[in-house]
C-alpha cells in the first residue's frame, strides 16, 4: 500500500515535466533570462567602464536609465556586465569546489579507512577560520579570480564532502553495490559505474544551492576589498562602491543589491524545487506538504 502512495519513481517525460513542475520551470526560465541578458546585453549598451566626468552621479531616468556613478559610468551597463562576473565567478567556484568535494565525499563514503582519515581532515578544515584564509589569500596573491576561487572554494569543500559522504554511504549499503563485487568488479569501477550515477542528482542539487551561497560570499569579499578589482564591474564591487554614496545616491547600491538578491532567490528556488524531481523521498514530502496546506481535494 505504501508503495502506491509514493509517486512513481520513473522520471517523467519532458512535456509532462514542464506542466507538472512550474516551480522548477519558472525560476529556471527567469535565470536563463538573467544569464542571456548579461551575456548579450553588453553588446547593446555603452561601455561599462567609459567615464563621463560631466554626468557624475546622475539619478535614474533620462539618458541613463539607472543613473550614473561617481565617475559618470552608466549603472545599467555596469549592472548587466557585472552579471557576467558575478554569475561566472559563482559557477566557476562551485564547479571547482564541487568537483573536489564530490571526489572526497565519494572516496570517504566508499572506503572505510580512507573515509575516517578524510573526515578527520575535514573536521580540522571546517575549524579553520574561513575569513582569515580568504584575507590571507587576497593579501598574498592579490585580489583576482584565482584568489576568489581558492578563498571561497576552500570554504565549501568540507561541507560538500560531508553531505556527499553520507549519501555515498547510503548508496554503498544497498545490495547492488555488493552484487557488483560478486560480479568481480573492482572498487573504483563500482564507484564510477554504480555509486556516482546514483549520487549524481544530489550533486546537481547541491551545486545549485552552493551557487547561491557563493554569490553572497563573493559580495562579502568585494565589500572587504578582496573581490574582483575595479574598474571591471561585479555586483559585489558595485555594492561596495555604492556604499560610500549611500546618503547621496542610494540607488547606486540599491540596484545591484536587488539584482543580486533576486538572482540568489531564483537559484535557491530552483535548487529547492528540483529536489523532489530527482528524489522520490523528497517528492513524497512535497505531496504530504501539499495535502497539509491544501487539504484533501476530494473532501470539498
Amino acid at each position: 500500500m505504501t508503495a502506491l502512495l509514493v509517486p512513481s519513481t520513473t522520471v517523467p517525460r519532458w512535456r509532462t515535466f514542464v506542466v507538472r513542475n512550474p516551480a522548477v520551470i519558472v525560476p529556471a526560465a527567469l535565470l536563463l533570462v538573467i544569464v542571456l541578458v548579461s551575456l548579450i546585453g553588453p553588446f547593446f549598451l555603452q561601455s561599462p567602464t567609459a567615464t563621463d566626468p560631466i554626468n557624475r552621479l546622475q539619478p535614474p531616468g533620462g539618458a541613463h536609465l539607472l543613473g550614473t556613478d561617481t565617475y559618470g559610468r552608466d549603472v545599467l551597463s555596469r549592472l548587466v556586465t557585472g552579471g557576467r562576473a558575478s554569475l561566472g565567478m559563482a559557477l566557476l567556484i562551485t564547479v571547482c569546489s564541487g568537483a573536489v568535494g564530490t571526489f572526497l565525499g565519494l572516496v570517504s563514503g566508499f572506503f572505510t579507512t580512507a573515509g575516517n582519515v578524510i573526515m578527520r581532515i575535514t573536521d580540522a578544515w571546517m575549524a579553520f577560520p574561513a575569513i582569515v584564509l580568504a584575507m590571507v589569500f587576497s593579501v598574498t596573491l592579490g585580489p583576482g579570480v584565482l584568489t576568489e576561487v581558492l578563498a571561497i572554494g576552500i570554504i565549501f569543500i568540507p561541507f560538500s564532502a560531508r553531505v556527499l559522504r553520507s549519501r555515498t554511504m547510503e548508496i554503498t549499503s544497498r545490495t547492488f553495490v555488493e552484487a557488483a563485487r560478486v560480479s568481480g568488479m573492482g572498487p573504483w569501477k563500482i564507484l564510477v559505474v554504480h555509486v556516482l550515477p546514483n549520487v549524481a542528482p544530489l550533486i546537481i542539487v547541491q551545486t545549485i544551492v552552493y551557487i547561491a551561497a557563493t554569490m553572497l560570499i563573493d559580495g562579502v569579499l568585494s565589500v572587504l576589498g578582496l573581490g574582483i578589482a575595479a574598474p571591471a564591474p561585479s555586483w559585489g564591487n558595485m555594492i561596495s562602491e555604492g556604499r560610500t554614496y549611500m546618503s547621496t545616491a542610494p540607488y547606486l547600491m540599491l540596484f545591484p543589491g536587488l539584482v543580486l538578491a533576486f538572482t540568489v532567490f531564483l537559484v535557491n528556488m530552483l535548487g529547492t524545487n528540483l529536489r523532489p524531481v530527482f528524489d522520490p523521498q523528497a517528492r513524497q514530502l512535497k505531496a504530504l506538504q501539499r495535502l497539509r496546506t491544501h487539504g484533501n481535494p476530494f473532501r470539498r
Binding site: 502506491l4 509517486p7 555488493e178 473532501r299
Partner: protein
C-alpha cells in the same frame, strides 16, 4: 446486527495528479467478538481497507471514499476529522507491522502508554490531573502484565530501541488496548517477527480477543497465520473482495480459483515438492491497470471469454461462503495432492564436495566481539540443494556472505574447488574464484542498480569475469533472459519497470551468467508474494537439473526449505545445531530447537486434518 459493516466501500487516492482506485466496492461485516482475517497479496488493498476503517489514509494521501463504513451504526466516512478523532478513541485500537517505527523513539514507553489512555467514559482533559495520570498508570501496568511483560516499572522507564522486536509488538498491543476498544485492527503484526515469536504473539492475540470479547480485523498475507487466528476469512485480490466465509469453509472448500491457487502455493510441512512448487503464472496486477472483467482472469486456468469482459459479483454459496467468480470450483481442496514424492535420495558426498566449510567462526567488533558464526562445519555435494534455515540473528546470512567471500572468516577455512578462503583471504586467482560462486540477494529491488537496464545488469559479471564481448555477449544475455523465462524485451527495461518476480529472475540470470559451481541464495523469495515464490523456486530447481550446480539456500521459511531441499541445516545463535534430510527432520528431529521451530510453524495442513 454486525458491529462493523463495510457497505460497498471504494477508495481512490490521488498521486501525481492521477486517480487510482485501490479498493472497489467491498462489502464485509464483522460481528461482535469475531476475528476476521483479510488475506491478500501485495496490491490487494487489504491494508488500505484497514487504514480507511480508522481513517488514517487521509493523513498521507488525498483519498476519496464512497460507500459506507458503519461502526455501531455510525457511518464514519461522514464524520469530520475532529468528530472522527473523538469517535475513534475508545472504540478502535490498532497494531501495526513495524512496531519499532510505530513508537516514538525519544519518549519513554510509560509516557507513550499513558498518553493512549482515553476510554469512552473519561472526562475530557482528565489525563492532565494527577488522578487521571494515576488511573492511566495503573491501567498501563495491568496491561503490560497481561501481554506478558510483568516487569512493568522497568519496561515503562525504557525507550523503544532497548526492547526486542517481540517485546515492542507486545507494547503496541498493550497500547492499542489502553482505551478498551471494541474493535482491534492488526496490520500484519507478526510479519516482521521470527516464527517462534510469531507463535507467541498470535496466541496472545487470540487470548486477549476472547477474554475481552473484542472484534478483531487481522490483516495478513499468510494463509497459515489466518488459519490459526481467524473465525472468518476474507480473501482480497487486486482491490476486490473475491471470497469470504468461515475459516473452515474457505480453507477446505474454497470456490474462487484464486483462493484455491493461493492455498496451493503455500508449502506444507512434510509435503515434498522437489520437482517444483505450485505457483500462479503471471503477476499481481497494479491498481493502475484498467481491466474489464475479473481481475484474476489473466492468471486463472478456468477463465473464459465471459471472465475477461464481465466482472463477477459476490454471490453466496450453499455453505457459509460468498465468492465472486463465474466458474466456481465445488470440490473440496486437497492440499496433500502433490505429496506423492518422497525424499530424493541424497547425493553422496564424494571426495570432492562442491563446498567444504570447516570450523568457521566469525566475530564482529574488536573489543566486545559479537560471535555471529561459531565453529560451523558442513559440506555440500556437487548438484546438491542445501537449505539453511534459522531465525534472525542465527548467523545464516553471515555464513552465506563468508562463503561468497564478501566477509572473511575470523578462523576456520572454506574450500570451494581449488580455492581456500581463510582469515587471510582467498587463495588462487580472484576472477576464477568469483566465477565459481555467485549470490542471489533477498531484495531484488535493492540488489539491482536502478539506473541500469536489465540487459546491462545481466551482462555485468560476464563482462568482468569472462572474455565475452560484442555480439557474443549480447547473444549470451539474450539466452540467459530466455532461460529464466522472461520476454526478450526485458533487456532494455529498468528495474522499476519490472515486477518483483521479474526482478528476481533478472538477478538469477545475472548469477548463472558466469556458470558458477555454487549459488548462495539468501532469502531470494521472502520479498515476493506467495503466488510468485513458486515461480522463482522452480527456476532454481530447473537450473539445478540442467547443470552441475549446487545451491546454498538460506531462508527463515521452514516449510519452504523442507519441501524443496535435498538436505537442511538448522542454525541457532551462530551454531549449526542440526543437519539432515527433510523427511528425517520433520518426523524425528533430534534437536529440541528444531522441534520448537516445527511446532511454531503455522500449519495449514494440520488445520485441514483437524477440521475436515
Amino acid at each position: 446486527m454486525p458491529l462493523l459493516e463495510l457497505a460497498d466501500l471504494s477508495l481512490t487516492v490521488l498521486t501525481d495528479d492521477v486517480e487510482t482506485e485501490l479498493v472497489h466496492e467491498i462489502a464485509l461485516s464483522v460481528a461482535a467478538g469475531e476475528t476476521l482475517c483479510i488475506v491478500g497479496e501485495s496490491g490487494s488493498g487489504k491494508t488500505v481497507t484497514a487504514m480507511s476503517i480508522i481513517r488514517l489514509l487521509e493523513f498521507v494521501a488525498p483519498v476519496r471514499t464512497t460507500g459506507g463504513i458503519l461502526l455501531e451504526k455510525t457511518d464514519i466516512t461522514r464524520l469530520t476529522s475532529d468528530e472522527m478523532r473523538a469517535f475513534r478513541t475508545g472504540r478502535i485500537g490498532m497494531v501495526f507491522q513495524e512496531a519499532l517505527d510505530s513508537l516514538n523513539p525519544t519518549q519513554r514507553i510509560g509516557k507513550q502508554l499513558i498518553e493512549a489512555f482515553n476510554p469512552l467514559d473519561m472526562i475530557p482533559g482528565a489525563l492532565r490531573t494527577a488522578k487521571g495520570q494515576q488511573a492511566a498508570k495503573a491501567k498501563a501496568q495491568s496491561l503490560l502484565t497481561e501481554v506478558g511483560l510483568p516487569d512493568t516499572d522497568r519496561i515503562m522507564s525504557m525507550y523503544p530501541h532497548q526492547l526486542s522486536g517481540g517485546m515492542q509488538q507486545r507494547i503496541m498491543i498493550a497500547m492499542a488496548l489502553m482505551s478498551d476498544p471494541i474493535l482491534l485492527l492488526a496490520d500484519e503484526p507478526t510479519t516482521a517477527l521470527d516464527v517462534t515469536t510469531q507463535a507467541e504473539i498470535l496466541q496472545l492475540f487470540r487470548r486477549l480477543q476472547r477474554e475481552r470479547n473484542m472484534s478483531c480485523i487481522f490483516i495478513t498475507h499468510d494463509m497459515g497465520v489466518a488459519a490459526e487466528i481467524s473465525d472468518r476469512i476474507a480473501v482480497m485480490y487486486g482491490g476486490r473482495l473475491v471470497e469470504v466465509g468461515s475459516t473452515r469453509d474457505v480453507l477446505t472448500r474454497p470456490h474462487h480459483h484464486y483462493t484455491r491457487a493461493l492455498l496451493k502455493c503455500v508449502p506444507q510441512l512434510g509435503v515434498r515438492h522437489a520437482s517444483g512448487l505450485a505457483s500462479i503464472p503471471g503477476s499481481v496486477p497494479s491498481p493502475r491497470d484498467v481491466i474489464p472483467g475479473c481481475r484474476y482472469a489473466a492468471r486463472c486456468p478456468a477463465a473464459t471469454e465471459k471472465c475477461t469482459t464481465l466482472e463477477p459479483a459476490l454471490v453466496a454459496s450453499l455453505g457459509s461462503t460468498a465468492y465472486a467468480c463465474w466458474h466456481p470450483a465445488t470440490e473440496p481442496l486437497d492440499l496433500t495432492a502433490a505429496s506423492g514424492e518422497t525424499d530424493a535420495t541424497p547425493l553422496e558426498l564424494t571426495d570432492r564436495p562442491a563446498l567444504t566449510v570447516d570450523a568457521v567462526t566469525k566475530v564482529f567488533g574488536r573489543r566486545r566481539g559479537v560471535t555471529a558464526v561459531n565453529g560451523v562445519s558442513l559440506q555440500i555435494a556437487p548438484g546438491e540443494f542445501f537449505g539453511l534455515v534459522g531465525e534472525s540473528g542465527s548467523g545464516k546470512t553471515t555464513l552465506g556472505r563468508m562463503i561468497a567471500a564478501l566477509e572473511h572468516p575470523s578462523s576456520g577455512a572454506i574450500t570451494l574447488g581449488d580455492h581456500v578462503h581463510t582469515a587471510r583471504g582467498v587463495s588462487g586467482d580472484a576472477r576464477e574464484f568469483r566465477r565459481s560462486i555467485q549470490l542471489i540477494f533477498q531484495d531484488p529491488q535493492s540488489s539491482l542498480d536502478p539506473r541500469h537496464t536489465a540487459g546491462r545488469i545481466i551482462a555485468e559479471p560476464l563482462r568482468e569475469l569472462t572474455g565475452l564481448r560484442g555480439a557474443e555477449l549480447d547473444a549470451r544475455v539474450a539466452s540467459l533472459i530466455d532461460e529464466v523465462g522472461l520476454p526478450a524485451a526485458t533487456k532494455d527495461k529498468l528495474p522499476s519497470q519490472l515486477s518483483g518476480g521479474q526482478r528476481q529472475r533478472v538477478a538469477i540470470a545475472r548469477a548463472i551468467g558466469p556458470e558458477p559451481k555454487l549459488i548462495v541464495a539468501d532469502e531470494p523469495t521472502s520479498a515476493l508474494d506467495v503466488s510468485v515464490q513458486g515461480q522463482v523456486i522452480n527456476i532454481l530447481l530447473e537450473l539445478r537439473r540442467d547443470r552441475d550446480l549446487s545451491f546454498l539456500f538460506i531462508t527463515h521459511n521452514l516449510s519452504l526449505v523442507l519441501s524443496v531441499a535435498d538436505r537442511v541445516g538448522v542454525m541457532r545463535k551462530g551454531e549449526l545445531v542440526e543437519v539432515g534430510r527433510p523427511h528425517d527432520i520433520v518426523t524425528n528431529s533430534t534437536h529440541p530447537y528444531t522441534r520448537q521451530l516445527l511446532a511454531a510453524n503455522p500449519d495449514l495442513l494440520a488445520y485441514q486434518t483437524t477440521n475436515p
